[in-house]
């Protein structure tokens, strides 16, 4: 592997890692509040990408507006899922997980008749390549990094400036202090779904679109939050960057599938020696 190739795959890795971070942050946020894992996260990523296909590519709306539309639509969808699935189950963790699993398979299966059997493609928003340290990098991939970073910083400020951060740490205590738990949970669902939609919307011009496209990013996000520790935001960010780099560099050297197998072996070993992940706290 030449140095140029290494630089190139490192940049691609950071860009890939940014997507993973957005996915993992939503998951970790929802886990922190409700102790549930959102199995529908991958399906929401897929829907986020399809909104770009229909609104930006078919509808001719500017990309930025389509991007915001995608986040808003799926944020509302997240709120509705909280109202219609999470809230009626009344905090039963296991039934909620199974219900979210059912929602996922429903959205994926319904995707085929609704979106069609053929893969969809979104034309590049930022075509061409640019020169970074003497290596050609696609602008499309490069643009993901600042957008994701802006979203992460925005989320961080939002959580810390509001009482959401207190609610994330101890929802019961926050409820005692007069925080409306339903509103907070609804907000967590909305933010989590909007972040997954943002990841899908950012990836839409790069990968092909099909109803199962969310499965891989979901598994990556799982690996990241096991790696970083459940409920930890710094853990999700560091884990996302690490997995993005592993994915890009190992995949360039050996192929995408060995990269996935390697990361799985890695988390099993990590669980053996550091069971709560790199930043996680004990239950």
């Amino acid at each position: 592997m030449t140095l140029a190739l290494l630089v190139q795959s490192a940049i691609v890795g950071v860009s890939l890692g940014s997507i993973y971070i957005l996915m993992a942050l939503g998951l970790t946020l929802m886990f922190g509040m409700m102790h549930i894992i959102n199995f529908a996260h991958g399906a929401v990523y897929m829907l986020g990408a399809f909104v770009i296909y229909y609104v930006f590519f078919q509808g001719g709306v500017p990309y930025f507006a389509a991007f915001v539309t995608s986040m808003m639509l799926l944020g509302v969808f997240g709120y509705l899922v909280e109202r219609s699935i999470y809230r009626p189950i009344k905090g039963g963790i296991e039934p909620t997980l199974v219900a979210l699993l059912a929602l996922t398979t429903f959205l994926q299966a319904a995707g085929y008749p609704v979106f069609g059997q053929l893969d969809k493609h979104v034309p590049p928003v930022f075509p061409g390549t640019t020169n970074v340290l003497g290596v050609g990098i696609s602008i499309e991939r490069l643009m993901i990094i600042p957008v994701a970073a802006a979203l992460v910083i925005g989320l961080y400020l939002f959580i810390n400036r509001t009482r959401l951060s207190a609610a994330m740490r101890a929802i019961e205590a926050a409820a005692l202090q007069g925080v409306n738990v339903h509103v907070v949970n609804g907000l967590a669902f909305a933010i989590g779904f909007a972040l997954a939609a943002a990841s899908g919307a950012l990836m839409a011009p790069i990968f092909k679109l099909d109803p199962m496209m969310g499965e891989q990013p979901l598994l990556k996000a799982f690996i990241i939050i096991i790696l970083g520790g459940l409920g930890s935001i710094p853990g999700a960010i560091l884990g996302g960057l690490m997995l993005g780099l592993i994915d890009s560099i190992v995949a360039t050297a050996l192929g995408a599938e060995p990269a996935f197998l390697l990361s799985f072996v890695f988390i099993i070993l990590l669980l053996l020696f550091r069971p709560t992940g790199l930043f996680g706290y004990a239950s």
Binding site: F31, H35, I36, I37, F39, I85, P88, I89, G92, I93, E94, P95, L97, V98, A99, L101, A102, L103, T104, T105, F106, Q108, A109, A110, Y112, P113, E215, L219, F222, I223, I225, I226, L230, E257, P258, F260, L261, F264, I267, I268, L269, L271, L272, P275, T276, S283
Partner: protein, 323 residues
């Protein structure tokens, strides 16, 4: 008292009905019902793990291990069916140990996420190890099952084999659930910290329940391999794993017959849609509706209906004699 008698009666009725299938229906029904029984084994073998409060979303991976092991041993080394089936089940159990030991000591969601990822790991291995599994071309030419050196050539005889396997496995699981071990599992599922304070080694018991499930999933996979005689990696994917979980929830978590009812009901009902995307749509809607409106599963349906009826008669205390 009624509860205790209920299960043997249901099992006996099922067995009687099952034995009549080849006589009443043709090869198509024999085929369909053989797969129903495979699903019953898979669903029932997930129950001990679920009873412990462990959401195993990767059961199809262990089925896949059992299926490929048994098929390859029989095909490449001419190992007799009984031995290859046992080897498949044992390897599935060993793999379960390797996955379960690190992840079961943690809270449930870690385990759930590891099992989901593991489905993908097994699928990739089956897909990439082309020299052994033939990858995406699929493994074909798997020998038919045999018992004591006699090859079971007819569809009906293979069907009786799976009926027998199912009955034995259900009996073992039923006995275990009503033993001291079953009570321990239940106590872990209800309040693991309380169980731990009473001196129960929760990690070991969770692992045991999980490995038992892997053993029977491997058994079901081995039968499946020799019955269908063709293995294709994506078949044992995420969807099948979810379905096995769905059987348990739609049937009902509260009683031993829950997964049996769920697997039978859903497998038969989805048969007309098999292979089309509508099968999955139907499955997921059934699952969502059950969780939201019938949290106890189908097995609580008779009681719910009775409650509804008594509520109605109670709200209308003087029913008109004309009605």
């Amino acid at each position: 008292m009624r509860r205790k008698l209920g299960v043997p009666i249901v099992l006996a009725m099922l067995a009687a009905l099952a034995l009549l299938v080849p006589a009443l229906g043709g090869d198509y029904y024999v085929h369909v019902f053989a797969l129903v029984f495979t699903n019953v084994i898979l669903a029932a073998s997930l129950r001990p793990s679920l009873t412990c409060g462990q959401l195993n979303i990767g059961h199809s991976a262990f089925m896949s291990v059992g299926a490929y092991t048994s098929a390859l041993l029989a095909k490449n080394l001419a190992v007799p069916f009984e031995i290859s089936l046992l080897c498949g089940a044992l390897l599935a159990t060993l793999v379960g140990l390797a996955i379960g030991y690190p992840s079961l000591r943690l809270r449930g969601v870690y385990f759930a996420m590891v099992t989901v990822a593991f489905v993908e790991v097994i699928r990739l291995i089956a897909q990439l190890w082309v020299s052994l599994t033939r990858g995406m071309s699929g493994l074909s030419g798997i020998p038919k099952p045999s018992v004591l050196g006699m090859t079971l050539t007819s569809r009906a005889s293979q069907y009786y084999l799976v009926v027998g396997l199912t009955l034995v496995i259900l009996l073992v699981l039923w006995k275990l659930e009503h033993s001291r071990l079953g009570l321990i599992w239940k106590s872990i599922g209800m309040a693991d910290n309380l169980a731990q304070s009473l001196g129960v080694n929760i990690a070991r018991h969770k692992l045991l329940a999980f490995m038992l499930g892997c053993f029977f999933a491997g058994t079901a996979g081995a039968f499946y391999a020799h019955f269908i005689r063709f293995l294709f990696p994506p078949e044992f994917g995420f969807l099948m794993a979810t379905n096995i979980l769905v059987y348990n929830y739609v049937g009902g978590r509260g009683h031993f017959v829950g997964p049996i009812v769920g697997a039978t009901f859903l497998s038969l009902l989805s048969e007309p849609f098999r292979g089309s995307p509508y099968e999955t749509i139907f499955f997921s809607i059934a699952m969502l509706l059950t969780i939201l409106f019938l949290p106890g599963g189908l097995i609580t349906l008779p009681r719910k209906l009775a409650e509804l009826r008594s509520w109605r008669t109670a709200s209308a205390p003087t029913p008109s004699p004309a009605a």
